[in-house]
Symmetry: C2
Subunit: 415 residues, 2 copies
């Protein structure tokens, strides 16, 4: 039954809206106290204030009493690399003791390690490990997740990663939004021929991806020493011609101007942005390109956090994401994400909630369908063990999600 009624929630944190919220708007969660939400046929059909009559027949619905508990939109994680082969737990120790990236590469670590393991893995193996990761995310309240290719860096493996995501999207309750990221790194065999590698993406990969409908967006690692601004522009413009939406790994390590490029091309989102310039931030705000920040990566790498406060104050649409990947951020921890955003990036709890619901939906171009509790949107909901969303950052690092509902179906019950 996709008919569900959640009654008497201490808070219905609606996050109401159909597009990403900019700047100060992010603080407005439009909370209804003691509210009731009705999902009919998988779609939110009613959001009721206390005292409003229930306009449906309760016996047609699964009813959950949410007294003393806060109800939120399902969380949306708009930037992950969750399909990969192998692990790098040894490398983690090397990095922690201060070994250089070059030393780690020479010992077989780094992205090359994951590329080898992902190439070697069968589709079935990637499905099994991918499903385990989705299960863990689901228990943390994530109902929609973006996933990128980019660990194959060759034709077959890139397509394999995307097909794995297609399979998981069809067989797992979490919705998966697939992004093609053939330009995640320059593989050994293309070193020194970056322009030709970009040509390969444009001429061979984009048409294949588009033909099978394997991805809805394209992404590129625009960074000093990886792909430069002009290469990134060429890649992204060609992707758009194939009907793909645009995302970009921008200004993570050096202030290369990735934020400015994202604004120029009106990308859906620019991600990382640790080194984004003031000009880049203003450009993102003007263009309405979502600034997707990845605090778990900064935490894991002991890097400074992105300037979230500056971005919000400049009127940006700020989103949060996990960046789950086997190297720099092997985590999908929603509670740690909220803790870092509020303790170390000076987001208020309200802004953090908007950033991981409506604004992260906007980073995927789906704010019209998910990311808030509004009539007409998908019935994707999270019920907390506590009466307020304020417990999300306050109960530091603890999973306080009690129930998760996807399209009106109870998919997680941690109670």
């Amino acid at each position: 039954m996709h008919n569900l009624m959640i009654k008497h929630a201490a808070q219905v944190v609606t996050c109401s809206g159909f597009e990403g919220k900019r700047g100060r708007e992010m603080a407005d969660l439009r909370v209804i106290e003691n509210g009731t939400v009705i999902v009919t046929g998988g779609i939110i059909s009613h959001v009721l204030k206390p005292g409003e009559p229930v306009p449906v027949n309760e016996s047609d619905y699964t009813v959950i009493d949410a007294t003393g508990k806060a109800l939120l939109p399902g969380f949306v994680d708009p930037h992950t690399h969750f399909v990969f082969g192998g692990y790098r737990e040894e490398e983690f120790s090397w990095r922690m003791r201060g070994d250089s990236y070059m030393a780690i590469m020479q010992r077989g670590g780094g992205i090359v390690c994951t590329t080898h393991a992902t190439r070697a893995a069968t589709e079935k193996e990637l499905i099994v490990s991918g499903r385990q990761r989705l299960d863990a995310m689901m228990r943390l309240g994530i109902t929609t997740v973006e996933g990128k290719s980019g660990y194959g860096l060759d034709r077959e493996t890139e397509l394999k990663q995307l097909r794995v995501m297609r399979h998981l999207n069809e067989s797992h309750p979490i919705d998966i939004v697939a992004t093609f990221m053939g330009a995640h790194a320059v593989p050994e065999e293309w070193k020194g021929r970056e322009d030709a590698f970009i040509d390969f993406q444009i001429e061979e990969m984009f048409p294949l991806v588009a033909k099978e409908g394997l991805a809805v967006a394209a992404d590129i690692f625009c960074e000093k020493g990886v792909f430069l601004i002009d290469q990134s522009r060429r890649y992204l413009l060609a992707a758009r011609e194939q009907g793909l939406q645009l995302k970009i790994h921008a200004d993570e390590i050096a202030p290369l101007g990735g934020a400015e490029l994202a604004a120029e091309l009106h990308c859906l989102s620019a991600d990382h942005l640790l080194q984004a310039s003031d000009k880049g931030i203003r450009a993102l705000a003007e263009a309405g390109t979502v600034a997707t920040l990845l605090p778990l990566t900064a935490f894991s790498l002991r890097e400074p956090y992105a300037r979230a406060r500056t971005m919000i104050d400049a009127g940006c649409v700020v989103a949060l994401a996990s960046d789950l990947n086997p190297g720099s951020s092997f985590t999908a921890s929603v509670p740690l994400l909220f803790a870092l955003a509020c303790i170390y990036m000076q987001l208020t709890p309200e802004e953090a909630v908007t950033a991981f619901t409506l604004n992260s939906a906007a980073a995927l171009g789906r704010a019209d369908r998910i990311g808030s509790i509004d009539v007409g949107k998908q019935g994707d909901l999270v019920l907390l063990q506590f009466p307020s969303y304020k417990f999300l950052p306050y109960h530091v690092g603890m999973n306080i999600v009690e129930k998760v509902i996807k399209k009106g179906i109870l998919i997680v019950d941690n109670a």
Copy 2:
């Protein structure tokens, strides 16, 4: 059935030892690959290397196949304040936006808020919320936890907190080690009469606590503006006379000499130690007093971390704890504890494991009974989803505990 056999664990991380490990010894986890552990009647009876014959009748045992998974001693959290009334989620937001501690106090925040709520709560209410917190800890692999009184600061409430812990110890699978902390703060009604308040603890409270056998240790908040060195010494010496073991909140905010006092009195542990002096650290090492570090508190308060590396290199017995409490560290997150220890305090994964198993058992005076996988110790075990303990810090902030075993009984199955 308290008979359990865990076969073919990818790693049996024994942490073998019957007292806290000092300095370099902490890195030696004595791992057995492809090992088998047998618990008979709740006690570890055999720890087998691959190829060693199983010397019991398998049909008398519940058998778990641990292929591909690492087996560790149950985690021991040696410093919490998990029994309390009320929450302070509003105060968290005030603190994050930069309000001063005084401003927060004036708005009804701070420890006074928790004292009021704990005094007002019934024993039953404290049992219900305490049990919820124990359940959450248990799912994270904690099999023994210390809990302190200290939110009553009056006769009845202090005894109430301790009785709640006694009740929970008898009714919940987790073992609870109760510590009396009547000198956690100076309550309003005793302000300016700190010496008399200490007299009250010594003359009235210690005998009551001892008579009912409500606690095994006493603790005091030795800090500038709270209880000074001489007051702390007097309190602790009197506690020892009543048969209580000694713990101390030392050098958290100011370098008052709490570490030196802990060493002088041969306390079981000195806790916090963010500002401990070099001399204090050397004294702890010489005395064998456990240095219990609380990185979750430092993280939550944006404070610098304790100098764990210096302490280990000086030969200290270093333990880790959550400090779970409703104000400065509302968390029992084991995964975040490991991440902070390894990423921000430069512990190796091996040292962090020792610090949260054998050494935290030593901080409770129980290293002879728990904290390692040794024949004769309690059958308290944690099975990870992954083949190596190295995934504990590497899978940042994620709970990777699959099964928890207490005295040979499976009490958590997250699979």
